[in-house]
Amino acid sequence: MTSQSSPLPVMAAAAARPAGLVATLTAWRVPLTILALCLLPWVLPSKALAVNVLIYGLIAVGYNLLFGYTGLLSFGHAAFFGAGAYATGIAIGQFGLPWFVAVALGVVFGGALAVVIGLLSIRTRGIYFSMVTLALSQLVYYAALQASSWTGGENGLRGFTVAKISLFGVAVDFLNPVAKYYVLMIFAALALWLVSRILNSPFGAAIEAIRENETRARACGYDVERTKLLSFTLSGLICALAGTMSALHLAIVPLDTLHYHTSGMIVMMTLLGGAGSFFGPFVGALAFLLMEDVISLWTSHWQIVVGSVFILFVLFLPKGIWGTALSWRAGR
């Protein structure tokens, strides 16, 4: 449970040195992140990879709300990601709805699923919570596999390519990778602002209180179950938004989206970047996808390299990339 203890010294140090770099980063975290996102497609080897970083970064940020800040290790977030993606694809492909309606539907559907799964799982703790979320998300996986007339089953959902969109009256060529990136970035930026706002609110303090000491939070008068459920739902909503972005990006929804491998990858990215920090999950997603993309170009044995890097990080940088960078800056 390194994630539970790691952010605390960082924050304490930041508070002790209000003029430090960490404090500046924290105060300006949303504009800084958006600035970094604006530059991303020009720094990375390809635009398609940049969109993937955007999507997986957002999932990891959403997941981190639950894992890093509320202290709940869920293994079922692929369900919300996939639900958002499928709902968007079906809304466009089968009902011919406009893309922005489909995005809204995807987020609402994923969020609704998060409420249901949250209600069923939130009263369990620790490993039991992980197992219940894993089981429920596998339920969603098999439902999608069976409902092949809706989801395309094993072959995945296809036939909803969005080629042109109209954004506030301006026609945008959605097949153009740069245009696609910046349109999707708007959604990511809004979601990041929302997450930042949530973390700065009293609610943000409440979920961290639950993470640190659930009994004490309850004694202080917080309704722990409701707070956890709200955090779970918000986290699910962000993941569902990432799902709708993924559907628009790839114009397919593979069944693998719902697979527990996806849930595992989300956990991995969050840990790699640093759970419990705002930037961390994004950095983790970036590092993960970049390594995979670049090393698999060199050698078909890329898994050995990526695996070794993970082992090194777990051994030497347990706070993740960003978490470690923060604690160095904060003066250890």
Binding site: A48, E154, G159, L250, I252, P254, S300
Partner: protein, 414 residues
């Protein structure tokens, strides 16, 4: 940043060194990505990692051979051809991303590849939206159907319908009792559908079917159930390592004593991996077997070129797809005099080619390659004349449109 760290640490710590090493590892490839402006670039996404890696590596080798042969003859309209191989990890989302990269960043002129039904449909979705030619080299019935078709979509591989029809024709008889063990995903489902259709036409009967999870290592629980069905024919419809594992275990359980084991596609690599004893007498279809060289000159030429490039090794069935897929596309580009998509599509539709296995051509309505289907039987150890002498060719179903579903059945306007 470095100075700051150094001011805190007397000498660079282990972490600093590791991080620097990691950073430089990640930073290097930007340099290596420059492309020649006038080359013809063929994108080749294929699952170099995962359960189909052996087949994928063969595809790459044969595709590289096709590119080399064309380049040796002067390339396409004087331009050199370049094959851009990418690992799609047998994951549809990854394949779609890789295909986007190939089109947007590498400016690939056409895409060939993929090795699963779901993955090829994902690649097809990306290419058809962007008007890029895609030659699929993996079995699928769905890609022929009007919903997934586009005029940029070509299917070089056999499809489950024609494969199962040919295999069933030479193994099922009136009154045969067939039990099915089927991988529970698109490939298995499509093969099962094809076999059942052929079975009904031939007057055989089904005594039961069992679905097994994709990638299952253990089939022992299925075998007693299959034996209780008392089949004459045990039809095992799965792919890759699953085929090797399931046949081996079926033979361990003595299933082959009372029933003949039939598979839709008898895989060269899996037979090599497991050895002759478990596979002896197993019958299945194939797009290619190197033994064709005795009767087909183009097969001899392909085998000889492959042997020369790979130290005497012979090409495999799935490897041959890589060759015929890339070669036919490049022939069409030569005929079109360049890479103009409309001209290449027209040239592919008109193309009559014989590059490895006899006459082939793409049907107009669904762009399915009409080609021969081989029915192979795995040899006993005693009958093998060498390590590569794996199969007897029981029959060759000649290339014909009658093996395919009709255009109107696929949903195309008559």
């Amino acid at each position: 940043m470095t100075t700051m760290i150094n001011s805190r640490f007397p000498s660079p710590s282990r972490r600093t060194v590791l991080m620097a090493a990691g950073a430089s590892l990640v930073a290097a490839p930007w340099v290596a990505n420059a492309q020649g402006a006038d080359t013809v670039r063929i994108g080749f996404p294929t699952p170099l990692t995962g359960p189909f890696a052996a087949e994928a590596r063969d595809q790459v080798r044969s595709a590289e051979l096709a590119v080399k042969l064309i380049n040796d003859k002067g390339g396409v309209a004087g331009r050199k051809v370049e094959l851009l191989v990418r690992d799609d990890k047998l994951n549809a989302g990854e394949a779609a991303t890789r295909t986007l990269e190939l089109i947007e960043k590498d400016k690939a002129h056409a895409i060939v590849g993929a090795l699963s039904s779901a993955v090829q449909l994902a690649v097809n979705e990306v290419t058809r939206a962007r008007g890029v030619i895609y030659v699929s080299i993996s079995q699928s019935d769905t890609i022929n159907e009007v919903k997934d078709f586009s005029r940029f979509t070509f299917h070089e591989a056999l499809n489950p319908h024609m494969t199962t029809a040919a295999v069933a024709k030479h193994t099922f008889k009136r009154g045969s009792k067939v039990a099915y063990l089927v991988a529970d995903y698109a490939y298995g489902h499509e093969m099962l559908r094809g076999f059942k259709r052929a079975q009904a036409a031939l007057g055989a009967e089904s005594v039961g079917e069992i679905l097994h999870p994709f990638g299952a290592p253990d089939y022992s629980t299925f075998m007693p159930r299959l034996r209780a069905m008392r089949p004459d024919i045990l039809c095992i419809a799965n792919f890759g390592r699953d085929q090797a594992n399931s046949i081996k275990q079926a033979v361990d359980f003595g299933m082959n004593r009372n029933a003949r084991i039939v598979v839709p596609v008898l895989l060269h690599n899996q037979r090599l991996a497991i050895g002759p004893d478990a596979f002896a007498g197993v019958v299945g279809g194939a797009n290619y077997y190197w033994g064709l060289e005795q009767s087909i000159p183009s097969a001899k030429a392909f085998n000889d070129a492959f042997r020369a490039a790979h130290g005497g090794a012979v090409p495999t069935d799935y490897g041959a797809y890589g060759f015929t897929g890339v070669y036919s596309l490049l022939l069409a580009m030569q005929a079109a005099g360049g890479t103009d998509t409309d001209k290449v599509v027209a040239a592919l539709e008109e193309l009559k080619y014989d590059v490895a296995k006899g006459a082939q051509s793409y049907r107009k309505c669904d762009h399915q390659s009409m080609q021969s289907v081989l029915v192979l039987e795995s040899k006993k150890r005693a009958d093998m004349k060498g390590d590569a002498d794996l199969f007897n060719v029981l029959a060759t179903e000649p290339a014909s449109e009658t093996m395919l579903r009709t255009c109107s059945e696929l949903g195309f306007p008559a």
